[in-house]
């Protein structure tokens, strides 16, 4: 196993009980990066972040420095929106950063505003996180009083207000255009891209940079130590460190900051310093490598590094850094239903394939579990899936504005491919298993064969 001794970049203060206070932050080098940044040219900072190859930590994994460069020149004002609406099942890291090191995020946001030329920043924190909101509010009040935020920051001509905003319970708001709608006081429904790419037409149709909490928390370190120091850590396409939450059937569930691209799934699931192995030393059945939207992985994928390109190529994604481990006792039909239920509940209702499709997928899975599955249901699940995401491929194709609907297809494709027998076992016990139902043309080869035989 390779447990690297890479430094902690973003969780370095987590061991202090008072890590959320301004006093602790300043005592541990806090706001020094901001001072350094203000003495640099904005473009130099953008270049450092590009050198660092900092990939977005929210799910899509787009390089932050490149994203910053997408703002059309000469169009003002620009806004920064910090996406702290973490709610992908299995994901648990942004909340820790908000609660335990709010100043690090604020400093990262300030430096970003300076580098990109954003005249106002909005920190969108998920509604359900009361403590995080309190910590951020206190941190902002303290930072304003100390002269780090607001008018003429640290005596320079750099002025920006950072406004704490919070949501009210809607997963879809984690999608950047839905987040912007929500921040304008509307229902959180995604906008069509193009033309509404946030960097071009975002908040109030102005250029807007939307960055994830973990992404921005890396910025102070990068400015202080340099982009090259960051790029020295990690692998070819995945630099620095990254937080992963390992939950489910492991001995020690937890959130770990590890060297990106080098640490493997086996390391993080089995190494004693991380999750310490599957509970009761049982067999590993499957694991979700990157949040509920990601296709599942199995034992044969354990030696893959936690690296974006590798995992993408293997047919899944690291997404939001959420690993959910399932041992041999897991009922995969129930696991599949639980993930699909989430997307059905959280569909915003804007696009028909997602609104209707996820709802029907959930209902069909539920009736299978409840003992009323039909032999044609497996074919039907795939048929509905195919209508949400044509071809049921990876990366998924979309019939919808955003990727939420297609995300519900991944667990179905995974579970049916690998554990079809478990679905069939449920259906075999159903009173409908032997009753003749109206078959789908494509769904019941036996019935079709009988019909064909009768006709000849």
């Amino acid at each position: 196993m390779t447990v690297t001794n890479a430094p902690s970049i973003i969780t370095s203060r987590f061991d202090f009980d008072d890590s959320h206070t301004l006093a602790r932050y300043e005592a541990t080098g806090g706001y020094q990066a901001l001072r350094k940044a203000l003495a640099m040219k904005p473009q130099q900072i953008v270049d450092e972040v590009k050198t660092a190859s900092l990939l977005g930590r929210g799910g899509a994994g787009f390089p932050a420095g490149v994203k910053w460069g997408f703002c059309p020149p000469g169009v003002w004002p620009r806004y920064l929106v910090v996406n702290g609406d973490e709610s992908e099942p299995g994901t648990y890291k942004d909340r820790l950063l908000l609660e335990r090191d709010p100043h690090q995020l604020i400093e990262g946001a300030l430096i970003t505003c300076f580098a990109v030329g954003c005249a106002q920043a909005f920190l969108y924190v998920r509604g359900e996180m009361a403590l995080a909101q309190e910590r951020i509010a206190q941190a902002l009040n303290d930072a304003y009083a100390a002269g780090y935020v607001g008018k003429n920051i640290l005596g320079t001509d750099f002025s920006v207000d950072v406004v704490l905003h919070w949501g009210a319970g809607a997963y879809i708001v984690g999608e950047e255009t839905a987040l912007i709608e929500s921040l304008e006081g509307n229902r959180g429904m995604p906008r069509l891209k193009p033309p509404f790419f946030p960097a071009a037409k975002g908040l109030h149709l102005q250029p807007t940079i939307v960055n994830n909490v973990e992404t921005l928390s890396n910025i102070p370190w990068i400015v202080e130590k340099g982009g090259n120091a960051f790029a020295d850590l990690g692998a070819e396409s995945s630099k620095g460190t990254r937080m992963f939450a390992v939950s489910g059937h492991v001995k020690r569930p937890g959130v770990f900051e590890v060297e990106y691209g080098v640490t493997t799934f086996r390391d993080i699931i089995y190494a004693p310093v991380y999750s310490g192995g599957v509970r009761g030393d049982r067999e590993l059945k499957a694991y979700i490598p990157g949040g509920a939207s990601a296709p599942w992985f199995y034992a044969e994928h354990l030696d893959l590094p936690l690296e974006k390109a590798t995992v993408d190529k293997a047919g899944s994604m690291l997404g939001s850094g959420a690993i959910v481990v399932m041992d041999e006792t897991t009922d995969m039909v129930r696991a599949c239903h639980r993930v699909v239920r989430f997307f059905a509940a959280e569909s915003c209702g804007k696009c028909t394939p997602c609104r209707e499709g996820t709802t029907w997928l959930e209902r069909i899975l539920k009736r299978i579990i409840d003992g009323y599955g039909r032999p044609s249901d497996l074919e039907l699940l795939l048929d509905v899936s195919d209508n949400i995401s044509p071809g049921i491929a990876w990366p998924p194709k979309q019939t919808t504005i955003c990727p939420l609907g297609p995300s519900a297809v991944s667990p179905i494709a995974s579970a049916l491919q690998r554990f079809q027998a478990e679905f069939e076992a449920y259906i075999a016990k159903s009173p409908l298993a032997r009753r003749s139902t109206i078959p789908l043309a494509s769904a019941a080869p036996e019935a079709a064969a009988v019909a064909a035989g009768g006709a000849s």
């Binding site: 099942p89 994901t91 905003h165 109030h204 939950s247 059937h249 959910v324």
Partner: protein, 206 residues
């Protein structure tokens, strides 16, 4: 009157003042209304519409989209038990069942004494601490049956530091007038001074 009180209206105006467009303040204001009354009343919706300059229907449209905003009375304590994948794997369903037995209500219902509303929720970002729940959006980790019973007893006896439903953060952001940079108005195409200065020293455009 379930309109915003004078004190809360002042807070509302301060919040509205932090946004380039008043309607952006809507979700925070709906939380404020809920903090005052425990849920969002019809009168509060009317009042918020006046404050931000839109119709009551628009306010209701936004309000009805978000799970946390309640249009009917709920209990003093809203207990959200997570049964999504990570919690399910470690007993979330059993915890919810136990909670239903203990409180004598199904998920989605409120106890007759108005103390508890039980909800089944999907992922509250504490997956490594499963099974977990929230009481008025404050976390309880790795909750078993006994712990749940203790929690209910503590809440009933007022032994926990949990404010009544509606109060989210007990710390409010306050931007002192002399420290405020001011809103970036989308109608005014102004280049920030530090960007303009950098261009001048570069001797040209970016």
């Amino acid at each position: 009157m379930p309109r915003l009180s004078t004190a809360n209206e002042a807070i509302a105006r301060e919040i509205i003042g932090r946004y380039p467009r008043p309607k952006s303040a809507l979700i925070p204001l709906l939380h404020l209304a809920q903090e005052q009354d425990g849920y969002v009343t019809e009168d509060a919706i009317e009042h918020l519409a006046q404050l931000i300059g839109c119709t009551a229907a628009e306010v209701l449209g936004t309000c009805s989209f978000y799970e946390m905003l309640k249009l009917e009375e709920v209990g003093r304590y809203v207990v959200n038990v997570c049964t999504d994948i990570s919690c399910m794997l470690l007993g979330g369903d059993q915890l919810l069942h136990h909670a239903e037995q203990k409180l004598g209500v199904h998920a989605g219902q409120t106890t007759t004494d108005g103390q508890f509303t039980l909800e089944e929720v999907t992922c509250i970002a504490a997956c490594t601490e499963a099974p977990c729940l929230q009481v008025n959006y404050r976390y309880e980790y790795r909750v078993g049956g006994e712990q749940f019973d203790q929690l209910v007893e503590d809440l009933t006896a007022g032994r926990r530091d949990v404010p009544p439903h509606g109060t989210l953060a007990r710390v409010r952001q306050h931007i002192p007038k002399d420290r405020a940079a001011g809103n970036a108005d989308p109608a005014e195409s102004v280049e920030p001074p530090w960007m303009a200065a950098a261009e001048v020293s570069d001797g040209g455009g970016v």
